[in-house]
Assembly symmetry: C2
Homo-oligomer: 337 residues x 2
DNA sequence: GTTGCTGATGTTATCGGTAACATCCGTCAT
DNA sequence: ATGACGGATGTTACCGATAACATCAGCAAC
């Protein structure tokens, strides 16, 4: 493996060494069967000898396909989107694409910046975890004609496509589960702030399901600062202070539920005997050998994979049947309810 | 905002509309003070009118700076590296760079693939969470002259630079903590498999510190399949079966510790009275309002930020004092020890 | 023997920017 | 008046690949 002293090995270097022209090298890489076997071998040998790595940026400029997909994620911390990003990246790489990542800390302004920056790479697709965008971002995206997939939610009017589930229905399903296990005075604990959109949807579904059984007092708390576990603890405290007879708490995330669990312990409340606690997300720590927490499982990896596939398909000219794909959810009953 | 019917707005379109040449538009973007104010305003108006977004790939091709940094991460699931990636991405974006991400599932072969794919983007830097690479990857990286930063560990001979901490010392520190709180027969629970390199380092430090006090029987278990919490539970079970008088367990990650905690509960063991349990990583769920787990805190965000800064510095011609940056760690004492 | 076709390879132009050098013009010192 | 200089802007070439078209040899069909 030899490398030119000044910079990178180019396709021209490979061509010269193999005694062919650049385009033949290009063909060996993109369409090997258009090249005679002997020539092909010679070119491949030259590639290996020189340690040549094709410049994707140059190729993309010329072919107008960047083979990059951008993902704009609210946050990576908190493990909510981690598996989705994993799934997305894995499926993309299988298909020769790469993943460009940006975090927004749940800020629409940062999202708009990130979107603009990503468009500068002329991505083959864009994945957004948020569904609330600045007007500017929305316009820019629409004008760009890049396939856009919004995930983890199913907006009524997606910009392009959507892959997710109904947060509303998930909340309702959990309410029904709590009712089915005999609870009659359940409360909701969520978080305030920019990230609470989906929590609110879950709450609405939850409250509606309760209302159908005549339970109309909408018990809820949404602490606004600190870690999620701390908010969960404070949320439970707030709920119990205002409605001391609360017999179940549905938390908008497993992290909140853990906080509630620890607060319950501090207060000497037995779970689930004195109070039932349920979470959302089925994070690893919620599982059988962890907290044993009743929660809602979301197929995070599948959301990522599906979003990736959608983008690949659209670019291959395959129109999906629907602009919205519902991956569903599942209430997982464990020992805290 | 108008967009040409066929594809993207180019710098030429902007130039035409503003009545200047392409290079003037380029200057307005890269070096505004070299352009007269009036001209600058006209160009900026044209950019806004047309919704122009510069093509970074084209710019990079010409300027030979891609403004992309690649990160090859063992896994995103499990929240170990999430904050590091967050920190990395944030610092990079502040400086106009973008983050290309790939996951390897702890496979060196996938790592080699990912590295090759990333080099195709001619990145301004590369960050690797692993320190065990295929010979091929190592050669390719060395030949590429791209600044490489290995993180979360401090290898004796980094490829380029390293940002991390001593896993060995962290293990030793935890051993000393357990001894200081009166434990005399501590065991270690890790995981088997490709990802256990760092766990082994922690174990070695742990065992050495114990040996210094005369405790020479190296108690350890490393279950190999299932979720981390399940392995933690099985690990504790294995340790207790073989050494029933074990009075403390140091787990190679907080997830394992949670599993051990749940297993202890199942066996009616009181923590910390009957057995002390410590973890590693200080994941959110370990905190005060969560498990209250004694653990080792790693400045994950700072590792990411530091790695990013290192790459930016090196590209700006600033040579760092040392090829290895130790960000340290901290034993956090909570209620499980 | 010419035509037409196929397979293998090459030539030229182009993608959308930036670097380097060139030009133009006004101002100021001599 | 003249030349030097510096600020503002333009021209040309090039980054490293691919698309589109061109070429050429070999061979079958008439």
């Amino acid at each position: 493996m030899a490398v030119e002293s000044s910079g990178w090995v180019t396709m021209g270097d490979v061509a010269e060494r193999a005694g062919v022209s650049k385009i033949t090298v290009s063909r060996v890489l993109r369409a090997p069967d258009k090249v005679r076997e002997e020539t092909r071998d010679r070119v491949r040998a030259a590639i290996a000898d020189l340690g040549y790595v094709p410049d994707e940026a140059a190729g993309g400029l010329s072919s107008r396909r960047s083979r990059i997909v951008g993902a704009v994620i609210s946050t990576l911390a908190g493990s909510t989107f981690a598996s989705t990003v994993d799934g997305l990246g894995a499926r993309l790489r299988q298909n020769g694409h790469q993943l460009l990542l940006a975090g927004t800390d749940y800020s629409s302004a940062k999202e708009a910046d990130a979107v603009a920056a990503m468009l500068g790479r002329r991505p083959d697709g864009l994945v957004l975890t948020s569904t609330s965008h600045t007007e500017d971002a929305r316009r820019t995206l629409a004008a760009s004609r890049v396939p856009v997939v919004e995930i983890w939610e199913l907006p009524a009017e997606p910009i392009g496509y959507a892959v997710g589930f109904s947060n509303h229905d998930a909340g309702a399903a959990m309410a029904r589960h709590l009712l089915a296990t005999g609870r009659r005075r359940p409360a909701f604990v969520g978080t305030a702030g920019e990230g609470d959109r989906r929590g609110r949807l879950r709450y609405e579904g939850f409250a509606e399901a309760l209302a159908q059984t005549g339970t109309t007092d909408a018990r809820a708390a949404a602490p606004s600062a600190g870690t999620h576990t701390a908010r969960g603890a404070r949320g439970l405290a707030a709920v119990l202070e205002r409605w001391p007879d609360t017999d179940a708490v549905f938390c908008a995330s497993d992290a909140l539920a853990l906080g509630a669990l620890s607060e319950a312990g501090r207060r000497g409340l037995r779970v689930p005997d004195d109070i039932a606690i349920a979470g959302f997300g089925d994070f690893e720590f919620a599982g059988e050998f962890g907290l044993g927490l009743t929660t809602v499982r979301i197929p995070g990896i599948r959301i990522g994979e599906t979003a990736a596939q959608l983008i690949l398909d659209v670019n291959a000219g395959i129109r999906p049947d629907s602009r919205s794909i519902d991956v569903g959810f599942e209430v997982v009953e464990r020992s805290t309810t």
